[in-house]
Symmetry: C2
Subunit: 156 residues, 2 copies
Amino acid sequence: MPRPSPSSNQHSSINNDVLTVADRLHSAAIHLLRRVRKQDIATGEGPARLSALSVLVFAGPKTLKELAAAEQVKPPTMSRIVAGLARSRLVEITEDREDARRMRIAATPKGTRLLQKGREMRIAYLASQLERLTPDELSQLGEAVEILGRLLQNWC
Amino acid sequence: MPRPSPSSNQHSSINNDVLTVADRLHSAAIHLLRRVRKQDIATGEGPARLSALSVLVFAGPKTLKELAAAEQVKPPTMSRIVAGLARSRLVEITEDREDARRMRIAATPKGTRLLQKGREMRIAYLASQLERLTPDELSQLGEAVEILGRLLQNWC
DNA sequence: GAATATAGTTAGCTATGCTAACTAATTTGT
DNA sequence: ACAAATTAGTTAGCATAGCTAACTATATTC
């Protein structure tokens, strides 16, 4: 996807520098993910399943609603994702004793192993590309990613 | 998607700092796009169509094969994306006079307008979030995005 | 001119997203 | 206490988007 010069909204409260950064950040994120995503094919599971599984692995068991919220997806969508994960024995579903409507969804050891292997491949691939940067560029990128992470945490 | 401490691959040629940056960059890109993507709903077209349309708008007319390559997608997939865009009158298909097998796919004025409006919304939304950063943080992010852009251009 | 290669389509599968309408369980309100 | 309302999750049905395999039609090559 090409990147145009940002439209000249000089009148708005948003100044042009912010628009430029926003535009290039958007474009970079799209292209980066498109490339990294191809590494995931080796796991045999789709992106939505891997992402949901990663929540379970790193944040512990969740109910379906919690998982849907964490993934910013509607319950019926998450219902199907979890069904797929359960079919592949990557998660285990048990009943909540306090509330019979709820389900407790937890990653199995197999799920944890698969996720971590896949993650290693993705990250290793991305890291191998980042190695082409100078140490200075890498540390600049590192700081920027921290800034982004904080921004995402208190997004409005 | 939570972010684990990177696995301790001290033995490999990829050092831990690179892995850390790679991991957080990956995670940030996923979450950023997930949020920005929701702005696109207002355009009434899906992400694959908008992305293909943007190639046509900013890089000019293309054949189906070229467009598929630009979007890193197989021809049958692009065939359907283009069919959808044509149905919505966002692109126009004409025949190549030199080779009757080829099709020339071009954005219509309507397509160009829709894309630019959608893009403005996305970027404006992202920019409104970036405004919460200090000027210093913004400039750090700006530099990092330039570094990333260069990295993506000569990706291996 | 026959064989081969190339451009695109069609058919059919999977996955992921949605809304609307449903079941079952819990909580609330009288 | 029990009817009404709320909450958790599922099911059905739709659209988009990805793939491979097998097809048609046109160009190219031998």
